[in-house]
Symmetry: D3
């Protein structure tokens, strides 16, 4: 059974990572997973929030959001509704945790970096694209700090790991990598996996959207995800010119 866009079950969509898409931020990446398009910016502030002052540790946090018409039908703005929704909160927290996993906050020193991931166009996998792009933006921001001699440690110590993320899911009983929206809405199981460049796990979130799943399915999905993240890590290395 073919995938809607003709991909193999274990095939990623075309991935692009455009660095310096914006001029103001210290790091700025437009990441595309097929038609999903997320602008990831890294904003550096010298110093840390008050409760962390004097700790010698830096701070990395993330905020995820969608433009109102990133999706098929328009959603009301959360600013107009006056509150951030549950899904937005949940993804912002996931992105933040994932990025903190690749940073040595002591080597970062008392600097704060906010990663803003704004979905300009959504076609499935926005949170995994966000994590994958934000890693590159974060790397550029750390390099920027390094250029200003503002790090407590060496930049390669600050960014001691890479992280990338991908979605996997079961559609019609078949495990598939990197679901587009059309597949996502029909998935029986939906999983987001965040991996380091060396194939370790940072975060695993699997949900039986319309049913439950067996250990064997979970194992197959994890295999797919690790392979996908390995390719994404390679794309990140290329984007960073290494």
């Amino acid at each position: 059974m073919a995938r809607p866009d003709g991909r193999q079950p274990d095939q990623l969509r075309p991935v692009t990572l455009t660095r310096s898409w914006s001029t103001h931020p210290e790091g700025s990446v437009l990441v595309e997973f097929g038609n999903t398009r997320v602008l990831c910016t890294a904003s550096v502030t010298e110093g840390v929030p008050r409760w962390r002052k004097g700790s010698g540790l830096g701070w990395v946090t993330a905020e995820y959001a969608m433009l109102p018409r990133a999706t098929h039908t328009r959603s009301d703005r959360e600013s107009v509704k006056g509150r951030v929704g549950g899904r937005t909160h949940e993804i912002s927290r996931l992105v933040g945790r994932s990025l903190r996993a690749c940073v040595d906050l002591k080597a970062l020193g008392e600097n704060s970096i906010v990663l803003d991931c704004d979905v300009l166009q959504a076609d499935g996998g926005t949170r995994t694209a966000a994590i994958t792009g934000a890693y590159v933006a974060l790397h550029d921001a750390v390099t920027w700090l390094s250029g200003r001699k503002a790090l407590a440690g060496k930049p390669e110590k600050v960014m001691h790991r890479s992280v990338a993320a991908v979605s996997v899911g079961v559609i019609d009983g078949e495990p598939r990598l990197d679901l587009a929206y059309d597949e996502d809405v029909t998935a029986e199981v939906d999983m987001n996996v965040v991996c380091t460049g060396t194939g370790d796990f940072v975060e695993v979130q699997g949900t039986g959207e319309s049913g439950v799943f067996a250990r064997s399915q979970l194992d197959a999905l994890l295999d797919l995800a690790v392979a996908g993240c390995t390719q994404l890590a390679e794309a990140q290395r290329e984007a960073l010119g290494r």
Copy 2:
């Protein structure tokens, strides 16, 4: 290396499920996992939200919250802050998804059930206790609806599965079941697993809190969690008098 409360690595804390703890709700369970104490109530409304009317399907949703002094230090009330926090949102969504996984919404018919899980005392594992207790409260609410001939299908069809949940984690390199607060804060990996009574997965959420984790660790944690959920399913059956 002994656990703080002397348990074996694969041992649950004492679990109690007190049905009918409150008099008003259609289902009401005080669930205790050791010192963690969550009041789970199921509130039935005939009819469904407007956007679902005429679909023939019921609706099950959940809200999780903590009393301000359920924890070691007092937290400000979310009602006073004027917004529900990210963690609360995230757990409410998890509880709702987990409980919907055990209900056939068509057999439920156009009835709505809200599961309120209020943490009266927190000592780790509040979300997993909430899911485990809410299942029993939901079961009682469905029985109540059945007694009023208000279900579209038979009650055993409505509740076609049971769900229970447990936390697992790695502390000092050792995988452990059902973490209490003292263990939770030092865990290198933290995972919440929701299983059916037959050992299938409903939801798997694992996070490398202070590091990353290998596939072998993930496998060991999943084994522990499935075994723990099996015991919890047995406790649920006993509580329901079956």
Copy 3:
């Protein structure tokens, strides 16, 4: 004309005050007036809010809230609605004023105590049960501070009075003590009275719910209330083991 639960007009419902119901708070009391069940916790913080620093005075405040299904039908959570309702505000302020009336803030020294009164089950008289229980929780918190040598004065000077509260009302022309919900909704006059252990008034709030009331009715209600508060003060003394 008999009361729904067979009580005499001047008879309280069974009252229980369970100390140390929760493990974390410095004071914690589950108070029950019949089926009304309120968890009162006292949370101590060293220091006072910024605007009070250096005054030498302590600070005591209270927050009242209801679990969504404490009542016959479920209410939306105030955290979800994004604002604290008028009734909640009003009762929180009443509880706070009442408890401050029994504390010598100078003897308390620059310590803050927050009294959280969360209604787990409501059957009329929740605010009066809250005040009665919160007094005991506050007493325990002051004892706790005393044990840490953190008070500016002696504990008996800090808690120089006791306070208790009870509702009274006129139903079918008859003045009655401690109304349960069924009576409360049909009362022509509804009054909440807060008294000290020596029978003085701290607060008197009477409302003609469906009509007005004469001075003679007011006098009869005050007599009932003072007698009721005297019994509650005795129950508080017993609970505190004196």
Copy 4:
């Protein structure tokens, strides 16, 4: 011991009730108790809120607020803070209950009246001035409805009672009527009393601001308040040209 403005203990401040102060509302009264100045408007809407439709009953509600610089020092606007404060809520509810006590909602028919009481200048007793003025504004609105043949009953049946309110308090041990701000802040006991034109009670709210009070003090305050309300009822009758 003389009062700051030379009044006798049982003497009201000069009271004025200026009808039709504004041109748009169906009823509009500028009420002054000395330097306290409250604009009370009554806004009529045909029909009632959705939940009351078909009941045959009308609806009367009230909102109280203060201009930011009605007081000695400026307060932040509640609109800017994004929430209505506890004191505002509490007084709005008191004003609403008090006014509903003088209206036969069945005779009013399915009409809604909102009473807005905006304090333009505050010098103590703003809530009691608001109730006293709002009664006159409400009376004018009912007359307006009568002129449009929109009442279900006769106007004198709709407004079957008058209500007025006054504050009383104990200062330096002396019971006094109608406290101005300077007296209010030093009062040992503070009480607001709402009476009908025939001297019955609608609402009694007494608080021991800096201490407690004995039954005898309560009795003296109630005597003062009833006498004060009788004079206010007379002022209302005069204002209404009767």
Copy 5:
């Protein structure tokens, strides 16, 4: 074609500026443009917001609001809605900018002045009346500061210009000055102009409400507005007794 109230196209409504309408504020003016009635108060605080400390500069800001029944039909309170509306925000910003244009913040020294403009009755032109009245209130507040020797410069240096504002519009093709509500709602073009006492512009805001406008119309409107502002400046001078 006559105007509804018989005025000439270039004629202002009767303007009154009543100083010291309220007793508490440092400056307080009730301004009336015909039936439009706005209470403008100036509240002085010594010191400036934290971000401005040590700059040597003062701070002037404004807040505009309407009582709920200032208008033909009642509007919900923004405090109850929990947010300040777009129109309110926009006008508050306009009033603040306009008043800052007439103050030398350096000569004011580190003092803050908040101008509250509360519309008690609306009949068109509320924002221009607010600016015109707030100038006089601000002047009184600066005089008050001068009396306390709290200014950094001389008062005539602080208030180095006067500002006044007026609305103009095109109705049935005719340019008219100072639109009342009935004219405002039918205007094809609506413009608010803020001028100094010497006829320079501070702010020009013109909108084609139901159509567009040509340069020649714009020119005619500006001529009318400048002439109107000149008269208002004269009224301000008279009110200030100069």
Copy 6:
């Protein structure tokens, strides 16, 4: 005196209008005025808000927002702050009014179009770029409706005018067209002008940011703005392939 980017005083920055930048919306334009980059999307809904049903008229509205790091330093998200700021409100209202000026709502029929203008990168003139781009997105949306035979009138009747907008200002005494950020912050006078394709005015907003301005300056600025809008109208025509 040269402009920072070497432009002539009456010269626009390079303008690009990229249609169909996003795939989901019915109209979608990425507009660039130099480094200012705004994504304008037009979202069509059949039907109109409830209060407009049966009127036969359509509805066009706009929302403007900035990504947090569109600017030199990061701003907090309005969704996180829980409220839309004054500046955002003001610009959203301006964009909405401007676009409604070019639409015949009767010919549009009962369809709603929301124009979202999200600033991806800010370098001055974001609101004028938003209006200029939103016009093209709106045009595409109307064409889309026409293709579905959903308009009440002909498309050229619906879009009976074009609108474009540009900023002008006085820097160092010199009137200049289309200010970039560096010029904007130092402008003595700042004006935004919205014109139709035939050179009529839709909206004129001029502010003396750090001073006041004379009629002659206003005239010079208006001349510049009209000439600039004429060029923008030409760019719009080209983008639309006409």
